[in-house]
Symmetry: C2
Subunit: 235 residues, 2 copies
């Protein structure tokens, strides 16, 4: 009866505008009092900016974004005028290959990080070096979904925190086996963080505190979450 | 600099085995100290049980679950042997029409509630009547997704809490308009709750405290989240 130990989720305030070469992990470590086992969620936008993944995108050319999206895609899955749903080199299926014109100077577009798992590892290492604290890191982005309206934040990279937790075979409360319960905790963590960021508030970092310590391990969104083309029933 | 006000997420413990006719909202109100503006997330399983949505399912018949799933579907989208991906009467696309054999007595299956938005409203009313507290309620279930491995908890019904929040036109941090930012906060809330429930721990209720008060309004998953068949690019 009552309440089990829970999570707290809070945004980190005061992160400055990020530019190429900035150490995102140091910016976070200098502004948040972190504890071992915290999961730091960083939105893709500032990770990409820190990695120089910003390119020119002519605001007067209505085809410019679409052409960038095509150049970032390995496959165009759906096309409605200038709107594309693509598969990126990472294997993500999303609108416009994740190419984004919001929260960037006019005339520019932000591309996804080349290797978001590596980005997460780098941020994690920077936080550990700066503050001595061992955290998990999730790099998040805002994706649409099939069948359901509305966007949610999902994990595109992670380090030190599981992407998918395999509960197959764990007995349920009736002592019977659960057939399939592989939970994508990294996506749920990214979504929880989005709830405190606010899209227009410009808060690109949040902390999720209190996750199951068993989830704190080496991990990869690319290896655990991305469904290979041949395995997918909906591509 | 520092931390913005955040969320807390905690599971409600001590919820007993739920049977037909039980008032789930009263069970929750009697075990959790709730505050106005809390969002109570209740997993579909106990909602369905309280509503008598439990049917016989012969454990010796390997086709029994598939046949139940077919009977609950308006459309079978994909079929791999006995595994079906279906569209339910509500418009949800999920495995086996949400028919579930876990956490129920052997020989039985649990079906989705007939109208999960109505279920959420009923639970909300019960909590208000029992404790005088005005909460939001999300009824959640665990669904797979296209393109990404791992399941996440999503909202199948809601009351008193927005399903999709429309941030279109809210200026970003650069003062430019965001083209599309309709965020499905109900799904993100359901996922956050799942992080504290644990699949095998038998904790079917969690509370998300601290959501943006602007999200506390009349709402409906069916109207806001379910993407109509004709609008969907992936069916």
């Amino acid at each position: 009866m009552g309440a089990a130990p829970g999570l707290t989720v809070f945004a980190v305030t005061g992160i400055p505008e990020v530019g190429r070469g900035d150490a995102v992990g140091e910016l976070v470590a200098d502004r948040a009092v972190l504890s071992d086992g915290d999961v730091v969620v960083v939105t893709q936008k500032i990770v990409s900016k820190s990695e120089g993944r910003v390119v020119a995108c002519d605001p007067g050319d209505p085809t410019a974004k679409r052409r960038l999206a095509e150049s970032e895609a390995v496959r165009v899955l759906r096309r409605r005028g200038e709107l594309l749903v693509t598969e990126t080199r990472h294997g993500f299926v999303c609108a416009s290959s994740g190419v984004d014109l919001s929260n960037v100077d006019e005339g520019f577009a932000v591309l996804l990080p080349v290797d978001p798992d590596r980005s997460a590892r780098r941020i994690r290492d920077q936080i550990r070096a700066r503050s001595g604290v061992v955290v998990g890191v999730v790099v998040s982005d805002t994706f649409g979904r099939a069948w359901r309206r509305g966007l949610t934040d999902v994990a595109i990279g992670c380090a030190g925190i599981a992407a998918v937790v395999d509960l197959r075979g764990t007995p349920d409360a009736h002592g019977r086996e659960l057939a399939v319960t592989e939970v994508c905790v990294a996506d749920e963590i990214a979504g929880a963080a989005e709830l405190v960021m606010g899209k227009s508030a410009g808060l690109p970092v949040a902390v999720v505190r209190g996750v199951d310590p068993a989830w704190l391990r080496d991990a990869s969104v690319r290896e655990e979450v991305v469904r290979p083309y041949g395995e997918d029933l909906f591509r």
